[in-house]
Amino acid sequence: MPLIINDIYPEKLFREDGKRLDGREKNELRPIKMEVGVISNADGSAYLEWGNNKIYAAVYGPREVHPHHLAKPDRGILRVFYRMATFSVFERKRPAPGRREKEISMIITDCLEPVLFLELYPGTAFEVFIEVMDADGGTRCASTTVAALALADAGVPMRSLVSSVAVGKIDGQLVTDLSGIEDKAGDADLPCAITWFNEELSLLQFDGDMSIEELNESLLNARNALDQIHQLQLTALKSKYTSILEEVEGGED
């Protein structure tokens, strides 16, 4: 029943000058802003703006598991709940969580679990709530990135951080960090995440078509972008403390 202005895809995803529609080079990330400690009630929290994506993550735990039967006697469990706000997308999303949100929640849970020491917290849960308030492509990668920050902010012991990005192919060319429109109108999308303690991929999906050579090159593109994202995460985590250090000690030293 709803009649809505059609979401028209552009015919070309590159401009005359060879840049992408939003003015980026092929392997350039969108502007990214991260901040930790944004939700005072949570044990740990983080906020991320990645292009037009606006995402909050909050961590609670270790705490009792509800429903109780999910608790494991020999180890803790990690539960991730990825949700999108009704107004975060072009057509209003139904308030109840859909299949897509459940699938992404599962993927992110599996991605983050290897960096945690769940065996130290039997019978309890770490719960990570991710709320996408504004979405513009790559939300699962942005969510993974911000969830890792929130866990670190909570003081949960971790083997390392986790960073995530999507690479892909649009108009036959390999690019890094697909925007919403590039994701929809492009040829291939490859979201991935890295756990830095072993430098291996912990999240990997692929949709579209690519040659073996293209896929190999894309993974290298991803690796470069992941390094940049990791640096931004480190800076965001530390700046909460270093800014206070500068404030109180700056004049004295």
């Binding site: 029943m1 939700i39 606006k54 009704t86 107004f87 209003r92 504004d134």
Partner: protein
């Protein structure tokens, strides 16, 4: 981590009540003071209107979406506005996952009633063609951090989101919907601005804008929505009872506070031009 606030301690309850009797609050406010109110508008690109309102540490983000649908048969030339609230489990250890509970329904209902009875949303302007097509406006409030008094923060954030909205103008031509390329904005959609003021009651003491500990030890609350010159809705909740004199006093106070806050917030500044 368990939260101490799930069961509020007896000493904290006594402490809050005893200080309120002396007109003191631990955060330094007087009985009739609001916490600091921070408003940002037009923050969500995907939404047709949006606002984030912080009332102290309480934080609510509201977004506007629209659909085009058929009007209700008894109101053939009026659009529809529905208000929803979600208490995200991210916002507090007191909130649980799952379908809307009483608290979120009350939040949405009280904000909705204030708006509905105040000549706020111009539903006739939301009609595209009588009997055929009207706008359905969704005002969705998401609680991002819960530190007491969601209702007042929700009311301001719903109004600001509506004022900041920008909705494509449609016309019906030969049974098809066409977009004119123009937009309806806050000035077209909204007229009166109903402000909700919530008062807590502990013992005989009544005070404005309960923070979280105060809300948890409150025996009852009363929320009063006012426009410039009228009372448009009242909601009493909790087990406290209020005398007629108390209600009369609160109504008078709400009108005064309403005028003061209306001027201070100046919500029309958040209008986005067409």
């Amino acid at each position: 981590m368990m939260n101490i606030k799930r069961v509020i301690s007896t000493i904290e309850k006594n402490y809050i009540a005893e200080n309120l009797k002396k007109g003191e609050r631990i955060d330094g406010r007087g009985l009739w003071d609001y916490r600091k109110i921070d408003i940002s508008h037009d923050i969500i690109k995907s939404a047709e209107g949006s606002a984030e309102v912080k009332l102290g540490e309480t934080d609510i983000i509201t977004g506007i979406k629209y659909e085009v649908g058929e009007p209700f048969p008894d109101l053939p030339d009026e659009g529809v506005c529905t208000i929803m609230a979600e208490l995200l489990p991210l916002a507090s250890p007191l909130f649980e996952r799952g379908p809307p509970d009483e608290q979120s329904i009350e939040l949405a209902r009280v904000v909705d009633r204030g708006i509905r009875h105040a000549d706020c949303i111009q539903t006739k302007k939301l009609c595209i063609k009588e009997n055929e097509a009207v706008y359905i406006i969704f005002v969705d409030m998401f609680v991002m951090n819960y530190a007491g008094n969601l209702i007042d923060a929700g009311g301001i954030s719903a109004l600001t989101a509506l004022i900041s909205s920008r909705i494509p103008e449609g016309v019906m031509k030969d049974g098809n919907l066409e977009w004119t390329g123009n937009y309806l904005n806050g000035k077209d959609l909204v007229k009166e601005l109903p402000l909700i003021m919530t008062f807590g009651k502990i013992g005989d003491i009544i005070f404005l804008d309960p923070n979280l500990p105060e809300e948890l030890v409150c025996e009852g609350r009363i929320s009063i929505s006012v426009t410039k010159d009228k009372i448009v809705s009242i909601q009493k909740s909790g087990v406290a009872t209020f005398s007629i004199e108390e209600i009369q006093g609160l109504i008078k106070r709400s009108m005064e506070l309403g005028r003061e806050i209306r001027n201070k917030l100046d919500l029309w500044q958040y209008k986005v031009d067409k």
